[in-house]
């Protein structure tokens, strides 16, 4: 026999520490502990055995890892907290004495400031780690950038957030990193791929946010502190890798005039600077020589592909010619730096110019004008990330527009979000606008009009779609989330309606394989369609809708007679009942005066009977097998079945609704 083990000296009892114990051990207040935990990313744990971890007590407590807390003991931030405590004592003393100049001096010179650099390096040892964790940081920063300052939130914080958000957007635009975007009722979701990591963030619509009462802004601000620092470092690194100067130049005047993104101007670093900078000298030198060799080719290539990188956004081209000149200049200065950057992150520029390049520059040919009722910021961000250079908007929407004249003949697409005004004659492009009549003007000829959703759908589809269904005032097709991958078990709204107009429920199982085949065909057709669809070809989503009227009637019949069969004890009884039902159905049909297709009916009922029998048999078999399972396994099995059933139910619910809607639509049509 081994030595008798003492309780509470090893295992769970040692590995876990309650929050109260942790706070005592660190000798700080609870709010400070909270701040520390947020900064350090320490979170509570769930011990396997709560009783063992808490000396036999089962009271609800928060547990932390003892090691986590142990590491906190030597945290420099903890020391800062303590310093702050003494500082606040001094300050309050000075204030109590009425010695305001002293208080001011203390505040200015001796206030301990927490630096989070080391924590960021510690939490994210590699750069990709930091990017992976950027989701929450971006969402929070974008939220605060859109909040008004108040007692809880100082204006500097909001400024910082807005600046960081814009800087981040600039990077995304420059790198064409944006992949998907989605207009939700909560806000706009964006997904970008940075260094191979997918980053998803949510930006609220530009409205005043309602602040719930139970929100503790101290917690939010602590998180924000960390997130702004993190984002700052990440942006620094991203800009540096891109060969840009961080922070970019910020034009305050422009910002005040509502220029938004245009208030920032990116500057590229000089080659010499780069060499002295973070990059290894040898690599850069080699690259430079290579670059010089291939410089001419590249310029050509880029010109061909139409990849027009605008380096200095402060320069706003006003006319087409001016723009061209400017671009040419910009390109020339931009190239070495850009290439330097690409070598730095080991990414091949040619790769970017492949199939993806087409996507990322799909709007490059366009000149877009935003009507004043459209949201400028998201549209500008989206259009620019996909290569659009010339975006104009109404003066109401702020500074920095490519053109303010909505009758500019160069405009190819106008984004409108208001209903069309009928009875107004179309206007030729370039005709003189009369002041004050702008609003009551008809369409300008020579350009397309589309609703904002068009841009989003193009982005998510990865190609330019036909703008027909997005025309001004048209009923928009549903806007779908680009992140939902349709699989077998879930409902797919893009798939055509199954068994539309037929007696679906009854034949579902029977005709499963047939349907599968059918689906395959339909999908094939659709695929073909979608290939054609690129600017031509109709959306054939509703293909296979047209069905015979007789079949529809039949369905109604079915519904009339479709009494749910009750499960009875013996199968013989079942059969009898079903036979009776069948008979009754026939009688009813006769009374209605509808000719019953006897052969088909009987076949159907037989098949149904067979199906029922099989189903029952299968169920019995499962029951039988469940009898021999252990309780644990049975529970697990039942849980899984429950989950599957829930999914299936949801799918069926949606399908049922869809069918109903389709039917109603058809009725309306007829």
């Amino acid at each position: 026999m081994g030595k008798i083990k003492k309780k509470g000296v090893a295992g769970n009892a040692r590995n876990f520490i309650t929050r109260t114990q942790a706070v005592r051990k660190l000798q700080i207040s609870l709010p400070d502990f909270r701040r520390l935990c947020i900064f350090k990313g320490i979170y509570p744990r769930e011990p396997r055995n709560k009783k063992k971890a808490n000396k036999g007590s089962t009271a609800p407590v928060t547990f932390y890892y003892t090691k986590d807390i142990q590491y906190l003991l030597h945290e420099p931030v903890l020391q800062k907290f303590r310093e702050h405590k003494t500082f606040s004592k001094k300050l309050s003393k000075a204030l109590g004495r009425g010695d305001f100049s002293d208080a001011k001096r203390l505040e200015d010179l001796h206030k301990p400031r927490v630096k989070l650099d080391h924590i960021i390096k510690e939490r994210y040892p590699a750069f990709t780690d930091a990017i992976r964790d950027l989701d929450d940081a971006l969402s929070t920063v974008f939220l605060f950038a859109n909040l008004p300052s108040n007692r809880d939130i100082p204006p500097q914080t909001i400024e910082t957030c807005a600046r960081l958000a814009n800087e981040f957007q600039h990077y995304i635009i420059r790198k064409h990193a944006l992949k998907k975007s989605f207009l939700s009722i909560k806000g706009i979701y964006y997904q970008a791929t940075i260094q191979g990591q997918d980053v998803l963030w949510l930006v609220p619509y530009k409205f005043a946010q309602s602040v719930p009462r139970d929100v503790d802004f101290r917690i939010m601000l602590t998180f924000l502190d960390f997130y702004t620092t993190l984002l700052g470092f990440v942006l620094f690194r991203l800009y540096t890798l891109e060969g840009l100067v961080y922070p970019p130049k910020f034009d305050k005047k422009m910002d005040e005039m509502g220029a938004g993104l245009r208030a920032f101007s990116l500057e590229s670093k000089k080659v010499g600077e780069l060499e002295n900078g973070t990059n290894g000298e040898l690599v850069v030198k080699k690259d430079v020589s290579k670059q010089l060799e291939t410089l001419g080719d590249k310029i050509k290539e880029i010109e061909e592909k139409g990849e027009e990188e605008e380096e200095n956004n402060a320069v706003i081209p006003t006319t087409e010619e001016g723009e061209k000149v400017n671009e040419g200049l910009d390109k020339f200065t931009a190239i070495p730096s850009k290439d330097g950057a690409t070598t730095d992150i080991l990414e091949q520029p040619t790769e970017d110019l492949g199939g993806e390049g087409k996507t990322s520059n799909m709007f490059s040919e366009w000149t877009v004008y935003l009507s004043r009722e459209t949201p400028r910021e998201p549209l500008e961000f989206l259009l620019r990330s996909f290569g659009c250079k010339r975006i104009g908007w109404d003066a109401v929407l702020g500074e920095g527009s490519f053109t303010r004249d909505d009758r500019d003949p160069s405009i190819t697409l106008q984004i409108v979000d208001r209903p069309p005004q009928v009875g107004l004659p179309p206007m030729p492009a370039g005709s003189e606008a009369q002041e004050g009549v702008n609003a009551g003007r008809g369409k300008v000829l020579g350009r397309l009009y589309a609703q904002p959703q068009y841009i989003w759908d193009c982005v998510n589809a990865g190609r330019v779609l036909r703008p027909d269904s997005y025309a001004q005032g048209a009923e928009l097709p549903p806007h779908l989330s680009p992140w939902v991958k349709a699989n077998e078990a879930e409902y797919d709204p893009t798939a055509p309606v199954e068994g539309d107009g037929e007696s679906e429920e009854e034949e579902e199982e029977e005709e499963e394989d047939v349907k599968m085949l059918d689906n395959g065909q339909k999908k094939g057709v659709e695929a073909q369609d979608s290939e054609d669809e690129e600017w031509g070809g109709m959306n054939t989503e509703l293909a296979g809708e047209g069905e015979d009227d007789s079949e529809e009637e039949e369905e109604e019949e079915e519904e009339d007679g479709g009494v749910e069969l009750q499960e009875s004890d013996a199968e013989s009884e079942d059969d009898e009942v079903s036979r009776q039902l069948q008979h009754q159905r026939e009688l009813e049909a006769e009374a209605k005066g509808v000719t019953v297709k006897d052969e088909k009916k009987s076949k159907k009922s037989e098949a149904k009977k067979k199906l029922d029998k099989e189903k029952k048999k299968r169920e019995d078999e499962i029951e039988r097998q469940k009898m021999m399972m252990t309780k644990k396994k049975r529970k697990l099995y039942e849980r899984m079945e429950y989950g599957n059933k829930k999914k299936q139910d949801e799918k069926e619910r949606l399908e049922g609704k869809r069918r109903k809607i389709e039917r109603e639509k058809k009725k309306v049509k007829n």
Binding site: K115, Y124, L183, F223, D417, L476, E641
Partner: protein, 760 residues
């Protein structure tokens, strides 16, 4: 000093020379105790000697030398005793030597023994003598004073003289003392003097001061008058006569130097007074923190990164497909739900145009929730089982291969009013008997479902159990109704068979008659009344309490009954051939628990008694308990033994069906738990089919295939075959009893809905 030492030496020498010592206590004139005195004197002397030795040690060098000489001459008693004779105690009762010449100043008297006795003059105590400062100390050492109680003295002083007991007060004095305590009384007795140890005035004062935590020194003044050295009064003269130092009124050069340094710094711009440190630190400086570009390390095992928020689904769209929009019912349901219970914190909405989309109300709340989740929510890694649930199902042989077994209800036996409590198929397989709550026993033809015979036994009590005698000859039906057991030969057979049965039953009457007058048996065998006899009842056995269950022995001579209400005689064994009843377990403690069911082993002389929680197997031949099975059920409702006798099934009210292999263990080999309600009855097929079944209050009968292999190494095969549904549940009771057809794979069940059913 020298003289004294010599005397000591001498006297010691004397003491050594002659042991018979004289008494020295002439003053007291107590001759009896002389002998005692001797020894004590002697010891005193030695003590004195030792004292002198010590003296020697402390004496100075010159004297030491002399001492040495003395010691040298120790053996020869020196002549010059004169001076030493001065030495002596104050009481002048030093011991004397007769042999020594008395000095001139020595008085010689005749002692009590007639010998001359020298009385030396008192010695003037000199200051430097060794015992001047020694007060009259008692030398008895650490001895209780009680030892001296019987003596007039209480010890001896340094000179060996007796210290006399101080005069003790009279009883009255003590009384007075006790009433009126004198000042300074402590209640202690001075060990040295034997007198009461009282504190003096001064001592009392000291004690009081100590109690007040004051300094005991009289001369100390705790509150001296303050001398106001520094007062508001301006003194004429300075307190210190030191002259004012120069540095007090000359500006410091050192300070000047330092100030100049700073001034110079400021002028040069090195030092910024009130430098805008705050501004500098407000803007966090960013740098390339990942410049070293460490390769991404694998996460620590215990680190759980925060889960990302799931991407939005279609229904979150501002313009979702119409099927995602909630209808009125769903909307209402969502609104009525508590915000915490809602699956999603938004209701899908559709908007015709983007400009019509309002701001989302819960945006900040949602972000705040996420923040809280990030730092407050415990993170646990959960493994998601991504398997097909069908793979969890065990592989079972197809029931088609295990046919035949009952699958459908073939006949329904209707007629009973109230529940059918018990069902039993007759061994020939033609009849089936039932007993019910209406107090009737009915016999039915199996195939047709026709009721052929009915007997109303009682109007108020239920027939709890009916069982056919298992032997083919003599068709006897045993039925339990209340506390009576009826042995019936139903008049449905031909005359021969009927008579055979009656003969078997009535053969015992003779034995019963012989036993008259013996002590009271647990059951009384009697002839039924005429009406019952007419109906075919041959014998009734009356026991004390209600009989719940009857089981026959395989040979049909014995039957055993259970009446759980009777604590002492719960189990009764009745012998048909001798009309004898007995209780195998006299005491309740034998079975430990209320017996629920009993059963004879199909081949061995074993009796199975199922109590609430255990099954005890008694060896009837040896009359001892051979085994106890522990099925682990809370309340056993029924048991049945496999016809081969090695396996046992147990049904319990806690929904479990347990299969025991008696050779394997006392624990069940298999537990099946698939009934929704408690199990009422279990039964093995006895006609050669490997079938068994259980019936439950959920109204179902589950039929199983239970094959036992002759190979001992192979475990029994249990396969569920069929769930027979048909009985209706009435008053929470379903199927109360089941029995198999003796030859066919047919099953009889008795339901609480008043029907019995045949399944085939």
């Amino acid at each position: 000093m020298t003289a004294k030492a010599t005397t000591r030496k001498r006297s010691r020498a004397e003491a050594e020379a002659e042991k018979p010592v004289l008494s020295s206590e002439d003053e007291f004139e107590i001759p009896e105790i002389n002998g005692d005195e001797d020894s004590s004197d002697d010891s005193d002397f030695t003590a004195g000697d030792e004292d002198s030795d010590e003296e020697e040690e402390f004496s100075s060098g010159a004297e030491d030398e002399e001492d040495e000489e003395e010691i040298d001459s120790d053996e020869i008693p020196s002549e010059d005793e004169a001076s030493p004779k001065e030495n002596g105690a104050v009481n002048d009762d030093t011991s004397d030597d007769e042999e020594v010449e008395p000095a001139d100043n020595v008085k010689v008297v005749t002692g009590a023994d007639g010998n001359p006795r020298y009385i030396y003059p008192e010695i003037e105590p000199v200051y430097d003598s060794d015992d001047t400062d020694a007060e009259e100390t008692n030398t008895i050492g650490n001895i209780p004073l009680e030892y001296y109680e019987s003596y007039p003295h209480i010890g001896y002083d340094i000179n060996g003289k007796r210290i006399m007991r101080p005069a003790a007060g009279k009883a009255l004095d003590t009384l007075l003392d006790s009433i009126e305590l004198p000042k300074g009384w402590t209640g202690l007795v001075d060990k040295n003097s034997g007198a009461a140890l009282n504190l003096t005035e001064e001592e009392l004062e000291i004690v009081k001061k100590l109690q007040r935590s004051e300094i005991t020194d009289e001369s100390f003044d705790p509150y001296p008058d303050m001398v106001e050295w520094f007062s508001s009064k301006v003194e004429q003269m300075p307190l210190s006569s030191a002259p004012e130092p120069k540095r007090r009124f000359v500006p410091s050069k050192h300070e000047q130097k330092r100030i100049m340094k700073i001034v110079k710094g400021i002028r040069e711009g090195r030092i910024l007074p009130h430098k805008p440190q705050a501004e500098a630190s407000q803007e966090p400086e960013f740098y390339d923190i990942w410049a070293d570009d460490a390769p991404p390390k694998p996460d620590h095992v215990m680190n759980i990164p925060a889960p990302k928020l799931p991407p939005p689904t279609h229904d979150e769209s501002y313009n979702p497909p119409p099927e995602y929009l909630p209808n009125e019912k769903e909307k209402k349901e969502w609104e009525e739900q508590d915000p915490e219970d809602r699956e999603k914190n938004y209701l899908p909405r559709t908007h015709k145009a983007l400009r019509l989309v309002p701001g989302f109300n819960g945006f900040i709340g949602e972000r705040f929730e996420r923040c809280l989740d990030l730092y407050l929510a415990p993170r646990v890694r959960r493994n998601k089982l991504n398997i097909d649930p069908a793979s969890l199902l065990p592989k079972l042989p197809s029931p088609d291969d295990l046919k035949p077994f009952p699958t459908t209800c073939a006949t329904v036996y209707r007629g009973h009013e109230g529940r059918v409590r018990s069902v039993s198929a007759d061994p020939t397989g033609v009849w089936v008997a039932t007993g019910g709550d209406d107090g009737t026993i009915r016999v039915w033809e199996i195939l047709t479902g026709r009721q052929v015979w009915k007997l109303k036994v009682s109007s108020d009590e239920a027939v709890d159990s009916v069982t056919w005698r298992p032997t083919p000859e003599g068709r006897i039906l045993a039925a339990a109704c209340g506390n009576e057991i009826l042995l019936v030969v139903p008049p449905i057979f031909d005359i021969e068979e009927e008579n055979q049965g009656k003969e078997i039953l009535s053969a015992g009457y003779g034995y019963a008659a012989n036993r008259q007058g013996k002590k009271e048996a647990p059951g009384t065998w009697s002839k039924p009344d005429a009406a019952l006899e007419e109906d075919g009842v041959v014998v009734t056995i009356t026991v004390r309490k209600t009989v719940k269950y009857i089981a026959w022995h395989r040979r049909g001579d014995y039957l055993v009954t259970v009446s759980p209400e009777d604590v002492r005689r719960a189990v009764c064994v009745h012998r048909v051939s001798t009309h004898l009843s007995q209780t195998p377990f006299k005491e309740k403690s034998v079975t430990k628990g209320i017996p629920q069911r009993v059963q004879f082993h199909p081949s061995k002389p074993l009796l199975f008694v199922a109590t609430k929680r255990y099954i005890k197997i008694y060896d009837l031949a040896k009359a001892e308990l051979s085994k106890t099975l522990k099925p682990g059920a809370r309340w056993i409702s029924s048991i049945d033994i496999h016809p081969q006798g090695d396996n046992l099934i147990v049904g319990s009210y806690d929904k479990r069906l347990l299969w025991h292999d008696l050779d394997l263990s006392t624990k069940p080999y298999r537990t099946l738990r698939y009934h929704d309600k408690g199990i009422r009855a279990v039964s093995f097929h006895r006609g050669g089919f490997p079938l068994f079944c259980s019936s439950s209050d959920d109204g179902t009968v589950q039929v199983f295939h239970g094959r036992i292999y002759s190979d001992l190494m192979e475990n029994a095969l249990i396969v569920p075959l069929k769930v027979l549904k048909g009985h209706k549940i009435t008053a929470h009771l379903g199927v109360l009893d089941v029995d198999w057809h003796p030859k066919q794979p047919w099953l009889f069940s008795a339901g609480a809905d008043g029907t019995a059913r045949l399944w085939n």
